[in-house]
Symmetry: C2
């Protein structure tokens, strides 16, 4: 396990317990947004509820963001650097592959300006694109 896992937690104001370090470590190893079930099996036999609450805590502290890609299960991904600086979280696009069902964060694809009708005050934004990811289109 990377030695700076503990530091990462402390920097976000999260008490670095063994459990939380395990969860964070697991999340860091993922190449795409990860559902509870995945974490459950990877961290087995850790308690499901504890993982659930750990993710809640991570989310509140800005360590991860939750993505609802319509699959029915919430997925979690580590927040990229600019989350902490801007205070806005999750402003990037998420891509959900129709074939492999993986959800990938696209931090470099910024969300364009939107002109909402009079009276609508935007606060957060969620943009999910469904289609075929590079891995699946090459096969």
């Amino acid at each position: 396990m990377s030695p700076n896992i503990e530091t990462m937690l402390i920097e976000k104001g999260i008490q670095p317990t063994a459990m939380r370090m395990l969860v964070l470590d697991c999340l860091l190893k993922q190449s795409s947004a990860t559902p509870m079930t995945e974490l459950e099996s990877e961290l087995h036999p850790a308690d499901r509820i504890t993982i659930y609450r750990t993710l809640k805590t991570f989310e509140e502290k800005g360590m991860v963001h939750a993505i609802d890609d319509g699959s029915g299960a919430t997925k979690y991904a580590i927040c990229v650097e600019d989350c902490s600086t801007t205070g806005h979280h999750d402003l990037h696009v998420h891509f959900n592959c129709n074939i492999c069902k993986q959800t990938t964060c696209l931090p470099n694809t910024s969300v364009p300006e939107l002109k909402l009708p009079e009276g609508f005050v935007p606060a957060e934004l969620s943009l999910i694109v469904k289609g075929v990811c590079p891995g699946c289109s090459n096969r």
Copy 2:
């Protein structure tokens, strides 16, 4: 009940049963996207499962679109006119009010062009904005 409800169903290739006309009528009266629970109580004592399956049918036939706004319950709204013509459905923005929790379709707010990274092939797109709606910001 509007007399053209039956026509609307037929035009979409949906057999116009009494139940389906009731559900469609109810949907037409809504000012924002409607969750199952809402339809359930409005159409009481109609069977929950039947409403559920009716909505599934409506969705398949392009009569309504389903919106997952992260509230945990899928919401349904009548497809606007351009759904049928372009073949694309649900290409408009949805606005979810943090105060009244209502989800409104914004058909006039088009989704801007996106430049995805190499290899990502987009098919569908879902854009949900959270914030405060006109009704709630005026109070």
